[in-house]
Symmetry: C2
Amino acid sequence: MNIGHAADASGLPAKTIRYYEEVGLVAPDRRENGYRDYDDAEVHKLRFLARARSLGFTLEDCRALLALWVDTGRASAQVKALARQHLSAVERKIDELRTLQSTLEQLVEACHGDDLPDCPIIDDLAGSR
Amino acid sequence: MNIGHAADASGLPAKTIRYYEEVGLVAPDRRENGYRDYDDAEVHKLRFLARARSLGFTLEDCRALLALWVDTGRASAQVKALARQHLSAVERKIDELRTLQSTLEQLVEACHGDDLPDCPIIDDLAGSR
DNA sequence: ATAAGGGTTCCAGTAACGGGAGGGTCAAGG
DNA sequence: CCTTGACCCTCCCGTTACTGGAACCCTTAT
């Protein structure tokens, strides 16, 4: 299976698939003409990666998850630990953004938004309170 | 004022201040010996930048905000528009992360996290439902 | 004279790709 | 037989906002 077809089958752009190969996440065979040749196992890997990335795991996380996937003797605790770690990071990020959100909301609300120069947002940035 | 002192006064690392100069956000004088020399106005600019960055504005946003700051005839509507745009981006990001969060929570909860290999998280990633 | 603690420039690396140049390959149609 | 179009290949650069490090200069104190 050529990379274009593998891209369709996995939902990943061909560019991304080549990149994943470059960083050692997949390793398709090569044909005589130099074309990459994806078998079902590699395509499955690609879909695994696409799903893991869509959940926000980093590529390094993905590498670890792939390893746990192929290791049929793994402890589910290992997977759970990774997922929980990632979940914590996501939650921290949400908290961060929520703080930003409320500050920005206050500023936006305080600003008249008319054609006069007086602006509480600029005043805040300039440190004049 | 040397860059080290300007760093202390603004809360930004010296490295960052040099970077801001490289991208044209600040332009301190130079002394005979080549050292950068920050006056109060430049330091104030640096603090403005530090505050804007802490609110999550991109450097390009910061460039625009600086321009609006020095333009004493600006309309506050322009500032408000920028802030609102940024606020929207933050809110979109929060929504994205919340979706991730709930999916991850479900997966984490479904996983026993023991020393057996059975793992709903891996199953999800592998697409076996 | 030397050592410490500034400062300077430039280069490389980060995460995860996307765009584009320049070129080879393959199947179908005139 | 040749061409066209759709693939494929390998580089290399650009993205964001810095951070670390190397190699070197300046100033001040001992």
